[in-house]
């Protein structure tokens, strides 16, 4: 018998050529709640899936309660007393509550199922640990999210779990339910059960965990004791970056106007909007949902048509009937919905990046592979796409890296104005910084940039000028430093109409 319930040492995992985990250690003490935190793609779910026997580890050792385990399968790990409460409530929807609690561990008389005892024990178990009553005949699909969570944990307890692994257990719960869940977890911890707790919510980690392991880019980034630490310290370890360095400074020179719109109107979306973007300038455009900012980008890019107004690009009056015309004239757009306009997962990184600009890398119909390779490799390095080479199918990349490929695709076309529609939404912190650096590089090259973002802090920090839209009109114009994100929110939500004209 040892004090350590789970001892994972030197765990590495590769998916094809991509390293998801490298030499990670995880020690969980009996009778403790152990948190695992990390940004998206840091390797949290990978290490849990290795422990659950869903992934085979490439290298490393696992000991459960001091006993070395060679191969882990979902069935064998349960026999060791390690139970998983999966985030997506893996329960059979057509089973009853009592069947779900005792699945694969049914009480029986001879060869028969002892349904009466099964129901009674399910009710007793749930009542004992959770102080609530659940009708054992209710179908799982008719239970609430919190009740399903209770059924999942009860199943582990019915199986005499020694270790409970909870993956984002609070995701679908309301505050009061979270509080009572934490009460249950503390009681289980006092019964000497080891609990592994994975959550995005830092405050929950601080509240419930005795120890925290921090992962970053598939490696250990540190272990801390929350009682002796702070949220700031943990976050700093997660991203390994002082938050003040989140927004890199830009030194681009702002030149002559490159895109102008006067009295732009699209009935039902926006009216009499004036926009001017200069070379080397990042123009922020922000507003609440439905304020017309996204529709404005669509009209500029030919996805929709202006009803009135004068649109000028590079000194020529234009009206684009389709995105193809807009791209030809020197516009590029990174759409918000990357899933729909996103990557072709079976094609290589290289093909995905060069697909939009292949014409500029071809002579007389032949692809100039050398110039294509240079361009692609340059973008891979610049965006920090985590791939061993450019020929890897995009399918093998993590979600965040797939998004970088989409960004790279559009950046590969040499355009004069870039329309960015929420390029950092659902991207982890590291990738955000890389995208900011990229925006700065484009500005440095004298490109004009219109940056639509729903993240107000990002808008305030990244943009030279900011236009705020409210119900289809521009209600605020600000220079960098004239407004902070709180004031911006007040203007965007119509609470303040402090319009300042740009001199």
């Amino acid at each position: 018998m040892s004090d350590i319930a789970i001892d994972m040492r030197g765990i590495s995992k590769q998916f094809g050529p991509v390293k998801a985990l490298e030499n990670v250690d995880l020690q969980v003490r009996k009778g403790s709640v152990h948190g695992i935190v990390g940004a998206n793609g840091a390797g949290k779910s990978t290490i849990i899936k290795i422990l659950a026997g869903i992934y085979r580890l490439s290298d490393g050792e696992v000991e459960i309660d001091g006993k070395p385990i060679d191969t882990i399968t979902p069935a064998s790990i349960e026999k060791e007393g390690v139970h998983f409460i999966h985030q997506d409530r893996l329960l059979v929807p057509t089973a009853t509550a009592s069947e779900a609690v005792f699945l694969n561990n049914e009480p029986r008389v001879g060869p028969f199922l002892n349904a009466r005892r099964m129901k009674r024990e399910a009710v007793e178990l749930i009542k004992k640990h959770f102080q609530v009553e659940i009708d054992p005949d209710t179908l799982v699909r008719d239970l609430s999210a919190a009740q399903q969570k209770i059924v999942q944990i009860s199943r582990a307890l019915a199986n005499k779990a020694k270790v409970l692994v909870l993956d984002e257990p609070t995701a679908a719960l309301v505050a009061a339910e979270v509080t009572s869940l934490f009460g249950v977890l503390r009681a289980l911890r006092d019964d000497n059960i080891a609990i592994v707790f994975i959550s995005h919510y830092m405050q929950e980690i601080m509240d419930i965990c005795d120890d925290v392991t921090i992962l970053r880019n598939g490696e250990n980034a540190g272990n801390v004791v929350p009682a002796e630490s702070s949220i700031e310290e943990i976050v700093a370890l997660m991203v390994n970056r002082d938050t003040s360095e989140m927004y890199p400074r830009r030194t681009a020179e702002i030149g002559e106007p490159v895109l102008q719109l006067e009295n732009g109107t699209r009935v039902g979306h926006f009216e009499n909007v004036d926009v001017e973007v200069h070379k080397g300038e990042v123009l922020g455009l922000t507003g609440l949902l439905g304020s017309g900012d996204k529709q404005l980008l669509k009209c500029m890019f030919g996805l929709d048509q202006f009803d009135a107004g004068t649109f000028t690009l590079n000194g020529n009056r234009r009206q684009f009937g389709s995105p193809a015309e807009a791209v030809k004239a020197g516009l590029a757009m990174i759409p918000e919905d990357r899933r729909a306009h996103g990557v072709a997962v079976d094609l290589s990184v290289s093909d995905n990046i060069s697909i939009a600009s292949i014409n500029s890398h071809s002579n007389n119909g032949y692809v100039d592979t050398k110039s294509e390779a240079n361009m692609v490799n340059g973008l891979i390095a610049e965006l920090g796409v985590k791939t061993p080479d450019r020929f890897l199918p995009v399918r093998n990349l993590s979600g965040g890296n797939q998004q970088k490929v989409v960004v790279a695709k559009w950046l590969s076309c040499e355009s004069s104005v870039y329309l960015l529609d929420d390029p950092t939404v659902a991207v982890d912190v590291g990738a955000k910084v890389e995208i900011y650096n990229l925006i700065n590089r484009l500005a440095g090259e004298g490109k004009g940039i219109i940056f639509v973002s729903s993240d107000l802090e990002e808008t305030v920090e990244m943009c030279d000028r900011i236009l705020v839209m409210y119900r289809g009109r521009i209600v605020g114009k600000y220079q960098r430093g004239e407004i902070d994100s709180d004031q911006l929110l007040a203007v965007a939500s119509g609470a303040s109409t402090d319009i300042r004209e740009v001199p």
Partner: protein, 332 residues
């Protein structure tokens, strides 16, 4: 929060209400149709006719049990989940093997075992195609159906092969406590399958595997093995039924494959008679008897038998449309 709580509650109530409505509606439709036959179809309610229908339905019902077990273990969504299109053709092949071996002079018990083994072997082939080769069940079992009927043609050379033995005539004409041997077979078989599916831990797990394979796998169940079991059990039903078919006809004849449509109709219709709208042995029993009475009633009314097949097809469409519609409204 109050609004969301009451919203989920009322949507559950609505669904529960709709479920009760459909189930009561199904029983009511069953009752009305039987009542109609009782009044208008001469001789429908005679004890001879009723026994006759039950006996005719034994073959259909046991094959439908095989199909039901496949539904239970591999998912009730017929369009994506499991199905065994080969079950009827498999019974034909097993019958051909049985008769041929008997005529070659094999002892009856051995020939019976060989027939059942043939059925289970074809079931194993289904399982192999679905579990190992990951084919969609609709295609995999369609291919196995063709293999089975092709083999049957090869063995019988497209002939009706007669056979007679004491065992077979006992099965056909024997009675015990006033109930025919065939009806006894149905009763015993039903108790056996119902125990296995509804009163054993094994059944709970098989339902879990079919209901949500990922959850079953996460609970430490071997999903592939359970799917294999479903198809092999269906093959067992086919082999077992082939002996009943041969005893009834005193021969192996082609055309057993035509049973597929009523078998499918019965197994699908059976889901409507269960509390959770899942396949159950009881539901399938009611549905198979209903399908049997439907054919019989039409016959007594003098309606062309061609209509029966059309009505069975319509039943399949109706039940599948109803259940997939119910699933869609659940997702919303």
């Amino acid at each position: 929060m109050d609004t969301t709580v009451s919203d989920t509650k009322s949507s559950i109530d609505r669904r529960a209400l709709a479920a009760v409505f459909v189930r009561l509606g199904a029983f009511a439709a069953l009752g009305i149709i039987l009542l109609y036959f009782a009044i208008y179809a001469r001789g429908f309610t005679s004890s001879f006719n009723l026994q006759n229908v039950v006996e005719q339905s034994v073959i259909l019902t046991i094959l439908a049990y095989g199909m039901t077990v496949v539904f239970i273990g591999t998912g009730t969504d017929v369009q994506k989940g499991g199905i065994d299109l080969a079950v009827a053709a498999n019974a034909g092949l097993s019958g051909a093997v049985f008769v041929t071996l008997l005529n070659l002079g094999w002892p009856e018990p051995l020939a019976v075992l060989a027939a059942i083994f043939t059925g289970m072997a074809m079931g194993f082939l289904n399982g192999l195609a679905v579990v190992v080769f990951r084919m969609i069940p609709l295609l995999a079992t369609l291919a196995v159906m063709n293999i089975a009927s092709g083999l049957e043609l090869t063995i019988t050379e497209n002939n009706v092969i007669g056979v007679s033995s004491e065992f077979l005539s006992t099965l056909q004409f024997g009675r015990f406590l006033g109930i025919s041997a065939l009806a006894w077979v149905l009763i015993v078989f039903t108790i056996f399958v119902a125990f296995l599916m509804h009163y054993s831990p094994f059944g709970v797990r098989l339902y879990a595997v079919g209901g949500f394979p990922e959850a079953a796998r996460a609970a430490g169940l071997n999903v592939g093995r359970n799917i294999y079991f479903s198809y092999i059990f269906s093959g067992f039903c086919a082999g077992f039924t082939s002996i009943l078919i041969v005893s009834r006809l005193s021969a192996s004849t082609l055309g057993t494959g035509l049973l597929l449509l009523p078998v499918l109709a019965a197994a699908l219709l059976g889901t409507v008679f269960s509390r959770r709208f899942v396949p159950t042995i009881g539901g399938t029993l009611i549905a198979s008897l209903f399908v049997g009475f439907l054919a019989n009633g039409f016959q007594l009314l003098g309606v062309s038998s061609y209509w029966v097949s059309g009505v069975q097809g319509a039943l399949i469409l109706l039940v599948v449309a109803l259940t997939s519609f119910a699933k869609k409204s659940e997702g919303a």
